[in-house]
């Protein structure tokens, strides 16, 4: 396979990926009050990674991000289930969530909700799933 000339793609990707990733995290964390959340955040992160895989070849990305995305998906599911199980320790039914407001040093008055933990699980599962799927297909030659 001849080496394609994709300098522009490389250059754009290098700039775009951090922006997409930052935006993804923003989407994820704003999900509680504004549009966004685990699904969208996760998918956006996945698309950023997909762009990386498309622009550079898989081996290069693999070398730099040493994560098995199947494991990521599994961890996500596990986290989501554990937040559900966690409810039992507070004598609540499965997947009950709670929230409260705290005064944190830098952020000031901040709301912390257990639902966010669940959402992290969702996001991880979505990332793991999407990337595993795309990698599996593109690796198969």
């Amino acid at each position: 396979m001849k080496k394609p000339n994709d300098i522009i793609l490389h250059a754009v990707t290098k700039v775009a990926v951090p922006i997409i990733l930052a935006f993804s995290f923003h989407l994820f964390f704003s999900g509680h009050h504004n549009p966004g959340g685990g699904f969208i955040g996760g998918l956006a992160i996945a698309s950023a990674l997909t762009l990386l895989f498309l622009a550079f070849d898989i081996e290069t990305v693999r070398a730099n991000i040493g994560v098995d995305f199947k494991v990521v998906a599994a961890i996500g599911v596990l986290l989501a289930v554990l937040t559900g199980v966690g409810s039992f320790f507070f004598d609540a039914s499965f997947l009950s969530h709670t929230f409260d407001y705290f005064n944190l040093p830098i952020f000031g008055k901040t709301e912390l909700a257990t639902a966010v933990l669940f959402d992290v699980g969702v996001a991880l599962a979505v990332i793991g799933t999407s990337v595993t799927t795309i990698l599996s297909i593109s690796e198969d030659r």
């Binding site: 959340g37 998918l43 599994a74 989501a80 909700a113 969702v122 999407s130 599996s136 297909i137």
Partner: protein, 799 residues
Amino acid sequence: MSWLHTMIVIPFIFALFVPFLYKFFTPRIHTGWFVFIVPLLLFLSLLKYIPTIAEGKTVYHSVPWMPSLGINYTTYMDGLGLIFGLLITGIGTLVVLYSIYYMSKHRESLHNFYVYLLLFMGAMLGVVFTDNVLVLYVFWEMTSISSFLLIAYWYQRKKSRYGAQKSMLITIFGGLAMLAGFIMLSMITETYNLREMFNQVDVITAHSLFLPAMLLILLGAFTKSAQFPFSIWLPDAMEAPTPISAYLHSATMVKAGIYLVARFTPIFGGNAEWFWVISSIGLITLLYGSINAVKQTDLKALLAYSTISQLGLIMCLLGLGSAALYFGYGDEATVYAAAILAAIFHLINHSTFKGSLFMVVGIIDHETGTRDIRKLGGLMGLMPISFTLTIIGSFAMAGLPPFNGFLSKEMFFTGVLNASQMNIFSMDTFGLLFPTIAWISSVFTFIYCMILLFKTFAGRYQPSKLEKAAHEAPLGMLISPILLASLVILIFFFPNVLSHYLLQPALIAILPIFAESGGIDVKISAWHGWNTELFMTLGIVGLGTFMYIYLKKWSGVYGLFSQRWTLNAGYDFAIERMERFSEGFTNQYMTGFIRDYVVYIFAVLIVMLGGSLWLFDGIAMDVSNDAPISLYEGGVVVGMIIAAITVPLAKSRLTAIIAVGVLGYLVSMLFVIFRAPDLALTQLVVETVTVALFLLCFYHLPEFRKATVPMRFKLTNLIISIGVGVIVTIIALSANSTRLFEPISSYFENSYDLAGAKNIVNAILVDFRGIDTMLEIFVLTIASLGVYTLIKLRLAGRD
């Protein structure tokens, strides 16, 4: 759970352990030794009930099972159930003991054998001890299934599979008919419990469903008990290992039909139809079985036909005896009740002598390698114990003293003679038929008993035709038939002990009118003086001996009947035709082409949805609440339609993929318009990733080919798709126009107070309906694992 319940459950539970016992102890210990404990334990515990039952008491326990359906698991034991229980466990014990020597622990898959055997035992106990007709039905079919499994035990043999299928088809057919009969009965009486049905005999008799229910239940009984013309499955069932033939197909399972008839006599008895159907079918079966038995050359087939004939005898007696209920309590009833007593008596006797005969035939088969009487002969000196046992068994079967068969045969003759004197049910016209046919059948019975005995043991020993040199069986194998044969003699000398403890309580169970008087006082004795019955027996012996001696001269008569018109030929023809028809019919629509199946699905969708909308007048169109349309929105919709239409028309796959992508992005624009920011965002990202996926895969998939499909194919597709489109449009319009309920989403608008979230959609996803989301990510993960597996893991040997 009472002990009675536990008894039924024990075999099932023990069956679970059999495979492990087999695995760990084979070949050190024969698995049969473990199984042996179960029937022995059950038999001993049943013995404990005899005094209670003999006093006229019954045992009753009820456990709610499906209370909402009125199905209780009620167990009940009276004299009838007890006799069957003792037979099942008693013969079961002996059969298991026998099988330990019969079934080789080195060659046979004993775990299968004993699991099936225990399944049968539990099911059969369930049949005789349950009081709920639906539960009875379930156990009844379980006996059919275990019988099927046991006949097909040597499933490598074609004949085993054939016999198993035959028995399954016939008995399950009867079982289903019986279920229909049960349901009719429960419709009439509004109960599933037999005890409660017995209290409503008048209601049942007056009901228009009386006759259908009766005939359907009898169909179940006749198929199970191999009555003419359903008897054809029993000879083929002889492919089962001999312990099974001795147990299921002579001593217990085939008697389930007898049990059923006896059990339902209190409800149906005393009616002309019941009387005639049972006694005539029984009589025909008796004659058919005995005549056919004479021409058999395989010992087991001979015994199978003899079993059919003896079952017919018992059935006939039950039919005749049911007349007692017509008269009500009195002298006449007592006369006919004697027939019932004879039936139960013969039932027990038959189990003893036929059980021992089967075991002896098994021994002969085991020790010589054949069951063909043309090859056997002269075994008298080589197998003296087996010879003695056969004498006892076959003389008892022929109705000779001093064996128990003599007593019940005499009582049978008394029954038919009494019946011929009857002046009800138009018996004055046909009455004489009964003793005549009974006598002819008994002559044939005598002949085949002699064939069984002398063709095997007398005559010339032909070692050249045998697979192995004949010798006497090991002691362990002989114990069971010896025990049974000694019972045959014991019962002859002490019939009244049996009568007092077992027969009388069973009689009361069948004919409840005798309950107050404590049964009838019939003394069973061997000598009644020079009466008609004795002369009949003497005649049988005389003519039978004569005919046996000149058997060769007249047996050519059998050849006169064409083999084309036998019951078996009819059955085979029907099965073959049905198989061919169903194969042809299935191949008509099961084309293996997925598109056809999708067509069925969509066609059903159109018909069901369209039809129900039409039927329930659900079509409505109301545009008054519609939101206004702006030009911009209209443009998006038009764009979507154009994009969608492009897809099927596209010449290249790239165009099609891009058109679908455009559609997806336009959908996300619609989401924006419809105030769904979360959806729009998700749709955008998903669409991007999906298009990437499509392009990745499309890299591998082939280019669209020129459509070379016939016009009809396209037209069908077009019609189906237009139909689906129209139906969906109508549904959408109608649903939009008929709003039956208030939306429930006002609750979710409290999300800030309830979940601390201002994004309602997200609150629903992670909090209100968190389990949905959790399961969704399960699905996601499973799908990705599926993708991974499809790509990475390949079956060995493939590409």
